[in-house]
């Protein structure tokens, strides 16, 4: 069971989903700094401007992209009656996600290295 593509897809969806929920809470807190004034907002933004968080943005991009593309795959499997292709669709989702993360992650990495 733990080696099946079904389990892999289930696990990746859950892990990226939980990571995105945690990020959402952080995002609401950071941007919400504006409610306490410009200084609070700027200090929270500065905190996230550290190189560590900039590089972590690539992980965020990977989670968003994979979670979204896997969601499209799920909608296709459920509503387009293509259950027999679900394995191939999972591999396609992984491949497309990898391409998009590399294409989107490189500019983020270059920006982070620029400081």
């Amino acid at each position: 069971m733990y080696r099946s593509t079904g389990f892999l897809s289930f696990l990746l969806r859950r892990v990226t989903g939980v990571a995105l929920v945690l990020y959402l809470l952080l995002h609401i807190w950071v941007i919400g700094g504006i409610n306490s004034g410009a200084d609070t907002f700027n200090s929270r933004m500065e905190f996230l401007g550290k190189p560590f968080f900039r590089v972590l943005e690539i992980g965020l991009l990977a989670a968003v992209v994979y979670h979204g593309i896997d969601g499209i795959r799920l909608l296709m499997v459920h509503y387009l009656n293509v259950t027999e292709y679900r394995k191939s669709l999972l591999y396609a989702a992984l491949a497309v996600s990898a391409i998009l993360v590399i294409a989107g992650g490189l500019p983020i990495l270059l920006f982070a290295l620029e400081g």
Partner: protein, 104 residues
Amino acid sequence: MRIFLMQRLTAIALLVFLTLHMVVVHYPPGHIDVSRVLDRLHDPLWKGIDIAFLFVVLVHALTGSYMVITDVERFDVYKRALAGIAVVAGVALFIYGTQTILAF
């Protein structure tokens, strides 16, 4: 079934909202500055879009979290309490987030 449907409908809406958000706000990296954000958010239409985005993302995140937690058998008995916590957290986060969007 109701939660499953909420997940599906918000997922479809998020594909649109998130793509728009990523393109308008985040790309290319490094071009975000406060004046650009302020310019955009002075337009009431963008405020409306961002509030709708906040609502959809919160429903998706909280129903998703509820489904992940209730997948664990031992938490099955707490379903009602978890649903209550999700609703309260959702309302609180929506009010806080809306306040933030309107503050810009």
